[in-house]
Symmetry: C2
Subunit: 202 residues, 2 copies
Amino acid sequence: MQSYPSYLLENAVNQLAKLPGVGRKSALRLALYLLRQDEQSVQDFAGSVLMLRQQVNYCKHCRNISDTDECAICQDRTRDRSIVCVVETVKEVMLVENTGRYRGLYHVLGGVISPMDGIKPSDLEIDSLAARVAAGGIDEVVLALSTTMEGDTTAYYIAKKLSGLPVRLTTIARGVAQGDELQYADELTLGNSIVNRVPYAK
Amino acid sequence: MQSYPSYLLENAVNQLAKLPGVGRKSALRLALYLLRQDEQSVQDFAGSVLMLRQQVNYCKHCRNISDTDECAICQDRTRDRSIVCVVETVKEVMLVENTGRYRGLYHVLGGVISPMDGIKPSDLEIDSLAARVAAGGIDEVVLALSTTMEGDTTAYYIAKKLSGLPVRLTTIARGVAQGDELQYADELTLGNSIVNRVPYAK
């Protein structure tokens, strides 16, 4: 067990070590780095994190992170408002946006159903999705969830919730990734990609 | 260039990405992690870092980090006060302490002389070391500095500063590390370890 020369240092190391992917050794390195910075820099650092947590807003339509109560994507009148892409978190909104291949709106669930982690459907923004679809004007809901057990469970639950509503439910294509060698693709992925084959586009 | 859905998020990511070893992708992951924590946790996190920077003390004798103006090591009357180990930073104090093989005091320089990084001798606690030695009661000063160009330069500068003072100046042994295969040792290390050979202890 490491002994620290100062309680303040030990406390900061304990806090920094809570960050995902940061061990105690890295935490000490970060703490000593912060100690070397001028006081204003450390104030800016601590303040930015605290302000993010305290003042962040979530878009009233799609639950995306936003500085106001309506996010920039929902405010953008050039986007196709008839299609909603359902994602787990804000991170996936950014990932899909970065592809530059999607011009519809989003709905951020806040996670996926995971009994292991104690995440129930009611912890997620599924009811608000159903309400949004029920309000009308949405032709298609695209599920862009992880292709994991939890993602599949969540997709199934959403499909049940939306059944009966006049909306087309789609999911992102699953198949062999761009640049992958076929010999290294797993059987399930390869099997799915054969069953769900699409017309060859020249 | 990544576009963020919120200025608060972007600001926090920018601040987190300043940490050593944290890229923009990791910074986003950290920011979203902090967003998921309850507000009190984030307050504790930000507070611990800010308190460390604002309230930390340095020991008036050895410049080690301390909660009071005299560190626990300098306060410990069972330690050998006639020997002082000179290290670069607080981290090296902790490293040497962890070996459990040293029972003397320390002197923390705050870095090494590095013209490349603009660190001059006057930026370091070298004058305070000389004053401490001049005040008497110290028989030996052990230099425990990195075996780099900067460490060697600093050692040379300290040796000049302390010349004329009635103190024995030593440096940590350099040689083949415990567990190293000789065939992989570099020439300089191997050469030094032959020149500075010691009696074989059975």
